[in-house]
Symmetry: C2
């Protein structure tokens, strides 16, 4: 027997209509390329988003068509977030930081029919444009137009919003698309449905998640070209929060200025951004009033516990650690200290806050080790698998990606985690980086962190090297700080108290530099290639026997 409830679809036009009718007076503020601030309201935004939908339809675009955006965080990009799905189109955010050839390949794979690009980004985009076959180029902002391009403002002005009847939209219909920027292999497209985005926005607005409120002023520093800026533009519109969009200026002084001027209450971004802001604040004590800022959502990579502590203790700002993936719309877990530990010593509370956190509502988790699903004991490592209504079930036109989905309906994240009895996950490695030594797993990240805690070590990467008996064994690649020295024996002795004997690297290699990706992460694939056979060639004694009785000091 079915319930007798209305058949009310979960679609983005509902969120836009809500903002327009009840939050019509709330502001959206953007930093423009000339550094001035543009400000208008949700009512203005909704009006222009409808004009955009009408104009794109008049250009010949139809429901299901992909429209790319190559833009910073600003109000016109927000208009595209709602205007493109409004006519049934698919908002396809393009990553400005990828190589032009990769962007061109992604546009071609997605078959974008139109692209919105910031005028200030044309110097980059002009390297992409000749390589793609896209019908319409629409330029946001002032400046000379490339041949055949349309100015965004002229496009909006040409629209006939009265004559435009938005098509009916089903909740399963595609609304947006983002390619995951894996460090290896071809980028894979994730196609978000209206339903997934609406549910993600609701989940994100719950008090134990991001918990955005109408009274908040939210500043997404995480780019709108990267997994929908963690969904904040949608969630902010759902709840009527003021939105503060930093445009192209992501340097600490510019961000701090916006926080101060616009009384930002919550912001979000990757740790590197916040490390820079922290440094600037600490170097200019008393110079800035950031007292409006209550919370900072940090994700993308692990937030160092020291940073969480510094913001809390020196600036009274709550750093909330979150984890997610392009394939998850993207939020998966978020960390708050569990209520049972609110009276625990500060040290223990910071330990919780440095974990990636607990699953959000409608996100389910499990982890699989070499012998099946692992217990939730906070110690046993396994690859994290997730499922939920905002999790991908396949990649767009990419059957080779199918191996990331299990037969029983879960997505394999590629992250190695432990899960504790309260459901807190802690990422210990990536599947491709974990060292599989004789059927047991060794966390490269745990060893790296311990090595980098040594006073002489500037950087350390731990990788798997081939081993005749154990198949893989850890090898550490270390850069020493200038003017410091340390020997292999010293570093191994430094590690010994903290790990089981069989976790200790079989070799420590001293180098001048560790290769990095464009986003600053260690390029471990290059290291693995270079040092794969280092143990065969060396005279290093065999690793100690693995023994179940050997205690690790982990967890």
């Amino acid at each position: 027997m079915d319930g007798l409830m209305m058949d009310f679809p979960l679609i983005l036009p509902t969120i836009l209509r809500r903002a327009e009718t009840i939050f019509g007076d709330r502001e959206i503020v953007s930093r423009q390329p000339d550094r001035s601030l543009h400000r208008y309201t949700y009512a203005d935004m909704a009006r222009r988003a409808r004009r955009l939908a009408a104009a794109l339809t008049a250009l010949g675009l139809r429901p299901g068509d992909r429209v790319g955006t190559f833009c910073w965080n600003h109000h016109q990009h927000l208009e595209a977030y709602f205007g493109i799905p409004l006519f049934g189109g698919v908002l396809h955010t393009l990553n400005l930081r990828l190589h032009p050839d990769d962007v061109a390949a992604i546009i071609t794979h997605a078959e974008d029919r139109a692209i919105l690009v910031d005028a200030v980004l044309l110097p980059i985009f002009e390297k992409i444009w000749p390589k793609v076959a896209v019908e319409h180029l629409i330029v946001i902002g002032d400046g000379p137009l490339p041949e055949g391009a349309i100015a965004y403002e002229n496009l909006l002005a040409s629209a006939d919003p009265e004559g435009f009847v938005p098509p009916e939209i089903r909740e399963q219909q595609a609304a947006a698309m983002c390619y995951s920027s894996g460090t290896t292999g071809r980028a894979k497209g994730v196609l978000y449905s209206h339903r997934a985005i609406v549910l993600h926005s609701l989940v994100s607005a719950t008090a134990d998640a991001v918990g955005l409120r109408e009274a908040d002023a939210v500043m997404p520093v995480v780019p709108m070209f990267h997994v929908n800026a963690w969904g904040l533009p949608f969630t902010g519109t759902l709840v009527g929060a003021k939105q503060v969009l930093p445009g192209p200026f992501l340097n600490p002084p510019s961000l701090i200025d916006l926080i101060e001027r616009e009384r930002v209450t919550i912001t979000a971004g990757v740790p590197t951004v916040w490390l820079g802001v922290l440094q600037h604040l600490d170097q200019n004590p008393g110079a800035h009033d950031v007292s409006s800022l209550a919370r900072m959502i940090v994700g993308g990579q692990a937030a160092p516990e020291g940073m969480i502590r510094a913001y809390q203790e020196r600036h009274g700002i709550d750093v909330v650690h979150a984890w997610g993936m392009t394939e998850m719309s993207p939020l998966g877990t978020i960390t708050y200290v569990p209520s049972s530990r609110r009276d625990a010593p500060a040290e223990e509370q910071y330990r919780y806050r440095a974990k990636q956190g607990r699953p959000l509502p409608l996100v389910e988790i499990r982890a699989r080790g070499p012998e099946g699903l692992v217990p939730w004991d906070g110690k046993t490592m396994g690859e994290l698998e997730v499922r939920g209504p905002a999790v991908a079930r396949a990649y767009y036109n990419n059957p080779e990606g199918d191996t990331q989905f299990t037969n029983d309906g879960w997505f394999r994240t590629g992250d190695i985690v432990t899960i504790d009895p309260l459901g807190y996950i802690e990422i210990t490695d990536r599947t491709k980086d974990v060292i599989k030594s004789g059927g047991e797993w060794i966390s490269s990240i745990a060893l790296e962190n311990a090595l980098m805690a040594h006073p002489a070590v500037a950087e350390a990467a731990v990788i798997a090297a081939a081993h005749p008996k154990w198949l893989e064994r850890p090898v550490a690649v270390v850069v020493l700080k200038e003017g410091h020295t340390a020997t292999e024996t010293e570093l191994l002795a430094h590690l010994a108290p903290h790990f089981a004997k069989w976790w200790l690297p079989d070799a420590v290699l001293f180098v001048d530099e560790i290769p990095r990706t464009s986003t600053g992460k260690f390029l471990k694939s290059a290291l693995r290639e270079q040092y794969r056979d280092v143990l065969r060639a060396s005279a290093i004694p065999p690793a100690p026997e693995h023994a179940a009785s050997v205690e690790t000091s982990e967890g």
Copy 2:
């Protein structure tokens, strides 16, 4: 083109699994009939809910079958909230406060196949049981069993949870049912789907709605037999909040004791309960520590502004005004001061807090007056219409209720409201009580409130009386305070500065008593019957002309 997201249904077993796996240690505390406190965890609750599902299935119940509950707020009732939907059954909460004949009629209409009843409620239930044809009677709590009944604990003990495979559940499937307790006409059944309850729980958990968190201790004083206790048992389980259930003891000292002892942070119920608690707190200053209590959700009828103010100013407790209906799962609107008015004078802020509030996410509103949809000007009255995924589209087996649903998919609430430019609704009347004078509407409630502000007036009800020219005109029925006197002329003069001339009652009738419903509301239908023709019989001069130019001081 459809999105490529997982087909993950929005169903209650997901919420239960979440609580069991990540909030397994959080407590559920119930006051038992002997006044002792029973406490266990979500892990315990989930285990017993599964046993209940298995046992009911073993009794022969099948997906779609209705199972009634005739219970106070306690942990076994919570087990039924999840255990019944878990096997595909429909939780049918029965209102303890209705007349036994009405309960019997509702059970018969719903065709309940089994009923769970509290042992302490058997004296009432025994008047119902002979009038219904229900197969299984299950008694919760100690005491002698009626002939043929099963003890709840024996039923759980008999279950084989290992052997029980829960059926697959679709999100549109019915999970729960509640009959609306209209003061007139046959009670009408609302059939909630799993999807509606999950969405309602998520919406309720958003920070600007109820905003429940894992760290909260929530005490629903609103009965679990009444529209799912405003959804709090579901929302509490979704977020892992501690639940404090008051059992049969709803008197102020008992509630205050629970708040104090269990450190309740948020509670919910009708204004009368909170007026009693307020009086008790004020009469015993310093005797109770209710400092844990941050918020109180008040609904069911309008919360007096004086009460909101008293709790805020004397006890630091935020009274949050909400409005909803059985047909809406039930939350529809909630009131927070809009951020643009946070710096306004306290008086203006209290005015916002005394309104019913703004629609929650996924709830859409509009109001229809005599001439169509009314503007959102905070002045024009119209009947509120709503829609959303947790709003009924029909009543269960009751075609005569169809008139409450519009052809274009909205539910007519029967409440007369104004809507202001920010989307705040204020209920000014019920459709059956509003006075329709010559095509214009006059709010009976506004006149009553103004009359009751006169020092000599104890109670006042304003009703429509038949009128030859205007069809209806207002008549006031007034009870004076003992030892006070006032004339019709005095009372009309008291009203005159506050209303348009044509709003003023055509007659003021002094009576000793105003008839009331069982829940203490004025029984206006009886008054209307009695005084319908009072204007025809009287020598009262005709009402002043209606004139659009006459300003009201309303709004």
